[in-house]
Symmetry: C2
Subunit: 658 residues, 2 copies
C-alpha cells in the first residue's frame, strides 16, 4: 500500500521540503503518479502535441494574458474608472498557465516560458496581502466583498488553481517561492472556514480547491489542508444551506429561484449523491477532489458514493468521445441518455475534469474501467479541444457541426486554453503509476518511464516502450531494473480490444486472468526482459444504446481508442445525406502526410441527392421509386480529435447506417 507519509518522505528527500506531516490513518491511496521528468513521450500522437504546447501554446497564452490585462492586474495598479477592469476569475487563467509551464519545465527543463513565469511569480509574491489573502479582484475592485458570495464569485476556485500552480512550480524548480505563498494563503483560508465557532461553514460554488488542497497537503506535508478539503466536501449541501445563509447575509433573497442547488452539486450532501448533476466541470472537479479526500482519509462511504456517481456519469451521460455535460444552458448535465450531437456542449474543461477524476479513481482502485474512460477522453474529446499547432481551441466539442464551429485563439471566459495546456504538459502523470511493489501502465505510447517500486529503498526500474499505438496494435515494453527485483507490472488491457495477447520474453501469457482489466505480471524482473503486447484494432462500428434516440440508426467509427468523424473537406457537404451500408467493407490506412500522420478510414457508402430540394421547402413527401434511389459515394473518416484543422466545414461523428 502506498501512503501519503511515504509520499511525503519521498518528496522530503528529493527537495528538502519542510514538514513531513502526520497524515493518514486508514490511508487508502494505492498508487501515485510518476514524476514528469521520469516519463518521456516519443510517439506520433502525444509527442507532437506536447511539443506544440511548449513551442506555441505557452507563448500565445502569455500574449493573451498580457493583452487582456490579466498579468497587469496582478500588480494591483488598477483603480476605479481605469480601463481593463479586472474580472473575478482572471487570476485562475494565469495560475493554470503557470502550472502548465511548470509541468513542462519539469518534464524537460529549459522551457522558454519559464523565465516569464518567474516574473509573474514575483508579482504574485508581492500581491499577497499581509493576512495571506491572495486574489487581485477582491483586493483592488471589491475588497469589502471578500468571502461574501462563495456561490457565484469563484474566490476559492482561484485559490485552488493557485495551489495547483504553486505545487507544480515547486515540483519543477524545487523553489518554495510560490509554495510558501500558497501555504500562507491556505492558512488564511483555514482561519476563515471550518466547523469551529466564528468560522464560515461555506464551500465554493465552483469546486477546484478540494483537489488542490490535497495536492498542497501532499507537497507541504500539512495535514490541515487535507482536513480543510474534507470540510469543504462534507459541508456541501448540508442544512442550513450555506448558499442561502450567505445570500441572506448579503441582504438578498435566500433562494430567488427556489432551492435548485444541483447546478452547484449542492442539492444534497456529496455522500448522498447518486447521479451526476449540474455544471459539468464543477462536478468533475468535485468528484476528483472527493476521491482524493476519500483516498487519504479511508472514507469508504464517500468512496462508494463517488463510484455510484462515476457509473452514472460514464454509463448514462457521456459522449462516445468522452465528452460530458451535454447542455450549453448551464454548461451542464441534463438527464440520462440525453446526448444530442449538434448541440453537444461537451466543454473541453469538462472532458479534462473527467480525466482528473478517472486518474484519482485509478489511484484508489486500479480498474481499467476508469482508465478506459480516461483514454477515451484523452484521445478524443480532450484533444479535440486544441488545434494540432497548439494555437487555437474549442470551448465546446460537439459531435456534429454545420461548419460554423471553429477553434478560436482565446475566449472571454478563457478556462479551456490553459486547462488543456496544463494537461498536455502533464501527460506523464496519466500514463503510468506506481504503488507498493507494483507499477501500472495505463496508456500506451512510445517512450520511456522510470520509477522506484515500493519505498525509497526500492529498486529503480525503467521501461522502454516501442509502439505505433494508437495506429498499430503492437506494444513492446523492455523492462530494466537496476538489479533483478521482484515486483508486479500491471498492463491495462484496453476495454475496446476483444482479443489482446501478451508474451513475456517470447512466452505467451494468458490475458484471461486479468485483474480488473489489468494483466498483472509478478515475477523477478531482470534487465532486458521483454513484454510484447498486441491489441488488435479492427475498425468497429459503434452503436449507442437505443435510449440515446439521436444516435438510433447511426454508427460511430472507432479503431483502437480513436473515434472518427466525417469532415466536409473529405466528403462534401450535407453529411447527413450519407448512409453507410451495414456490413460494407471499411479500410484503415495510415497517411503520414495527413494531420500530422493519422490512420484514416475509407469505404463505400450511399448518398441521398440533396440538390433536388427547392430552396423554400422545409418538408416534402418522400420521393418514391427511381427518385428515391441513393447514389454511390465513398467516405473518408479522420480522427475526431484532429477535425477542423483544415478547411472549415461540416463534421459528423454518428453516421447514418443503411
Amino acid at each position: 500500500m502506498g501512503n501519503i507519509g511515504w509520499y511525503i518522505r519521498a518528496r522530503s528527500a528529493a527537495y528538502s521540503a519542510k514538514g513531513s506531516g502526520e497524515m493518514a490513518g486508514d490511508v487508502k491511496r494505492r498508487l501515485t503518479s510518476l514524476k514528469l521528468r521520469d516519463v518521456k513521450f516519443d510517439d506520433g500522437f502525444w509527442a507532437p502535441r506536447i511539443e506544440a504546447n511548449r513551442q506555441n501554446t505557452f507563448a500565445a497564452q502569455e500574449k493573451q494574458l498580457r493583452e487582456t490585462a490579466r498579468l497587469k492586474t496582478l500588480r494591483l495598479g488598477w483603480k476605479t474608472g481605469d480601463p481593463d477592469k479586472p474580472h473575478i476569475f482572471w487570476d485562475s487563467d494565469i495560475y493554470k498557465w503557470i502550472e502548465a509551464v511548470a509541468y513542462d519545465d519539469e518534464r524537460a527543463p529549459g522551457s522558454e516560458s519559464a523565465g516569464a513565469v518567474e516574473q509573474v511569480a514575483d508579482d504574485i509574491v508581492r500581491m499577497q496581502q499581509p493576512d495571506g489573502y491572495l486574489n487581485s479582484y477582491f483586493t483592488i475592485v471589491e475588497p469589502e466583498a471578500r468571502w461574501t458570495n462563495l456561490r457565484d464569485r469563484h474566490e476559492l476556485y482561484c485559490a485552488g488553481h493557485f495551489f495547483e500552480a504553486a505545487v507544480a512550480h515547486f515540483d519543477a524548480t524545487g523553489s518554495r517561492k510560490l509554495l510558501d505563498v500558497a501555504c500562507r494563503f491556505a492558512d488564511h483560508i483555514d482561519s476563515q472556514f471550518g466547523p469551529e465557532e466564528g468560522k464560515r461553514r461555506g464551500y465554493p460554488g465552483h469546486e477546484e480547491i478540494e483537489l488542490a488542497l490535497v495536492k498542497l497537503a501532499r507537497a507541504s506535508g500539512k495535514r490541515e489542508y487535507l482536513d480543510l478539503a474534507k470540510f469543504f466536501i462534507d459541508e456541501r449541501g448540508a442544512e442550513p444551506h450555506y448558499f442561502e445563509v450567505e445570500a441572506v447575509a448579503r441582504g438578498e433573497k435566500a433562494s430567488p429561484h427556489g432551492r435548485k442547488f444541483d447546478y452547484w452539486q449542492a442539492h444534497a450532501p456529496v455522500r448522498e449523491q447518486r447521479t451526476v448533476e449540474g455544471h459539468s466541470v464543477r462536478a468533475g472537479y468535485l468528484f476528483a477532489g472527493a476521491a482524493d479526500v476519500a483516498a487519504e482519509t479511508g472514507d469508504e462511504e464517500l468512496l462508494e458514493s463517488i463510484k455510484t456517481v462515476w457509473d452514472n456519469t460514464t454509463t448514462r451521460r457521456m459522449y462516445v468521445t468522452g465528452g460530458i455535460g451535454s447542455a450549453a444552458h448551464g454548461e451542464r448535465f441534463t438527464c440520462d441518455y440525453d446526448l444530442p450531437n449538434l448541440t453537444a456542449y461537451a466543454e473541453t474543461c469538462a472532458a479534462i475534469s473527467l480525466v482528473f477524476w478517472a486518474k484519482r479513481m485509478i489511484e484508489v482502485e486500479p480498474d481499467s474501467k476508469y482508465a478506459d474512460v480516461m483514454e477515451r477522453a484523452l484521445y478524443n474529446g480532450v484533444t479535440s479541444g486544441i488545434s494540432l499547432d497548439g494555437r487555437k481551441f474549442f470551448y465546446e466539442n460537439p459531435l456534429e457541426s454545420r461548419g460554423t464551429h471553429n477553434r478560436k485563439e482565446w475566449f472571454g471566459c478563457a478556462c479551456c486554453p490553459p486547462n488543456i495546456a496544463r494537461l498536455l504538459a502533464s501527460m506523464g502523470h496519466y500514463a503510468y503509476s506506481v504503488g507498493d511493489g507494483e507499477a501500472f501502465v495505463h496508456l500506451y505510447a512510445q517512450g520511456s518511464a522510470s520509477f522506484t517500486v515500493g519505498d525509497m529503498n526500492g529498486t529503480r526500474v525503467s521501461l522502454d516502450v516501442k509502439t505505433e499505438y494508437p495506429w498499430k496494435e503492437k506494444v513492446l515494453v523492455t523492462v530494466s531494473p537496476e538489479a533483478p527485483a521482484e515486483f508486479a507490472l500491471a498492463f491495462r488491457l484496453p476495454g475496446w480490444c476483444r482479443k489482446p495477447t501478451a508474451k513475456v520474453n517470447g512466452k505467451p501469457v494468458s490475458t484471461k486472468k486479468a485483474e480488473k482489466g489489468y494483466l498483472k505480471i509478478a515475477r523477478k524482473w531482470k534487465k532486458g526482459d521483454k513484454v510484447a503486447l498486441a491489441f488488435p484494432m479492427p475498425i468497429e462500428r459503434i452503436e449507442a444504446r437505443p435510449e440515446i434516440g439521436m444516435d438510433a440508426g447511426r454508427v460511430a467509427l472507432q479503431r483502437g481508442p480513436v473515434v472518427y468523424c466525417l469532415e466536409e473537406v473529405d466528403n462534401g457537404a450535407s453529411l447527413n445525406s450519407i448512409c453507410l451500408p451495414s456490413g460494407a467493407k471499411l479500410k484503415a490506412t495510415f497517411d503520414k502526410e495527413l494531420l500530422g500522420g493519422v490512420t484514416v478510414i475509407t469505404g463505400a457508402a450511399k448518398r441521398r441527392d440533396a440538390s433536388k430540394w427547392k430552396p423554400d421547402e422545409l418538408y416534402r413527401a418522400e420521393p418514391q421509386g427511381k427518385a428515391a434511389k441513393l447514389k454511390a459515394a465513398r467516405i473518408k473518416a479522420v480522427p475526431y480529435s484532429a477535425w477542423d484543422n483544415r478547411a472549415p466545414g461540416e463534421m459528423l461523428v454518428w453516421i447514418r447506417e443503411y
Copy 2:
C-alpha cells in the same frame, strides 16, 4: 376591398357602438372574420374539443384562478406581508379566461361560466384607478414602479390581454362594461407613450398590446389606438435604445449582458428584421400585430418585412407539427434548421401565436401558404396542447418523448391553458373570412357559416358543409344566398393535397386555375348550389430537408393535415428501435372508439431487439451477421394532437426508415 370604416359601421349597426371613427387612408385589409355566432362546427375533430372547452376547461381554469389567488388579487386587498403575493402577469391569465368564455358565449349563448365572468368584470371595473390605470400588481405591490421596466415586467402585455378580453366581452354581450374600462386604460397609456415631448418612447418587452390595440380601435372606432399600436411597432429597436434608456433611469447598467436585444425582437427596427429571432411567443404576437398595423395603414414596407420574416419562420424554423421556438432556454428561436425533437420546446402559446399571425396575413393577402401553416399548427402543434377532455395541458410540445412528458392541470406560468381555451372558443374566426364581393373558406369542417358579402346592403349567404374532414377526402358545400347574388367563393386547396378536384352542381371545375392556392368560383349563386370538393389524402411519408440533421433517415407520417406519431401504448417501448422499411404498405383505418374517433395508420415494420443491451453498456460494437437481424414488427400511429391521452409512455414523430 374591405376597410375598417366599413367594419366599424357594421359593428355600429349591430351594437350601437359609439364612434365610427376616421380610420384608414390606404387601407389594405381585405378580409375580416365572421362573427362567432355565425359559424357552427358539427364535426368530429373540432366540435368535441370546443364542447370540452365549454364543459370542462372554463370551470377548471376558474378554479385554478381562484385557488392560486389570482381572482382575489383583483379586489386589491393584498398588503405587504400577506400570503399569495401577486405576480406581475397574473392579471393576463384572468383576461385570457374572460376572453375565452366571452367567445364561447357569443358562439353559443348560455355558457355556465358567463356568470362568473360578470362578477370578475365587476371587480375589474372597481380595480381601475382614477387615471385609468389597470394592473393589480403595480397598484398594490409596487405602485412606484409603474412603467419603469417595460423590458421585463409585462405591464403592456397585461394591458393587451385586457383589451382583447374587453372586445370579446363586448362582441358577446353588447355591454360596454369592460370596453369602456379598456378605452379609459388605453387613453391613459396613450397619454404616457408616444413620440411627443414628455411621453415615454418605450415599447413592451413582451409584445401583445399591438394586436390588441388594433382590435380595440376596430371595436371602439378610435383611430388613436391604431396610431399607438403603430408607434409601438415603429419605436421597437430604434436608437437610443429604450431598454437601455429605462435601465439607466432605474440606476442599472444599460445593457448588463451586452446589446443582445434579439430576445425581445428589439435588435433592429421591425421593418429591418429579416429573420425571426428571440422568444417565440413574443415574436408571433409582434408580427401578428405588425401585420394588423400594416393592413390598417397601408404600410407596404412594413408588410414586406413581415412577409420575409414569415418565410424565414415557416421555411426554416418550424416543426412539421407547426410548432415554433425550438429552444427551452429563452423559449426561443435559435437558427435555421435547428429543430431537435426530444428537446423541442414548441410552446403551445407559440403555435397559437403562429395561428394569429397566419390569420392576419390571410386577411391582408389571401394566399394558401398562410392558411396551410395555420392548418398545420391547428391540427397538430396547437391541439396537442390540450387533452381531449379539456382538463390538462402541455406547455412544451416535443416531437419525441421518453415517457416523462405529460400534460398538467396548470402551470406556475399559466399562459398556455387559457390561451388554448380562447383559441378553441374562437375557432370560427379562423375557418372562414369575408371581403368585398368575396368569401373564403380556409378550413374544412362539417358545420355551417353565414355572412354578408360586401357592405351592409349585401346579400346574406349561408354555407352548409358536409364532410368527415380531416379523416375523409370529400367536402360538400351547399351555398344558400337569401336571394341569387353575384359573388366569389374562394376555397382553399390544401398544400398537402396533390390532386384536389372540384365540381359545381355536378360540373367539374379545374383546380389548376387556383389563385394563390384558392379555387375562386365567381358566379351568380343561388339557393342550393352545391360545391363538391375532394382532397385525396393518401398516407404520406414526409421527409425533412437534409439540413435538419436530426430528421435525416427518418420520416414523419402525415395524412391530410394530420401528422402522426407512435406511442408506447400501441407499439411498446424503445420507439427508436423501430424502422419502417421504405416502400412498405401502410393502411389508414378509422377507429371510432379510439381517442374520440380518429384514423389510425398501421403497417409492417422492423425492430432492433433492444433487450440485449447490458444495463451499464452505453456504447458497443454493432453486432454483425445473425445478431444484427431485425425482427418483424407492426406499427400503429395515431394523430400527434391526440397523444398522451392514454397510458403515459414514449412518443415519436420522426420514425427511422430502413
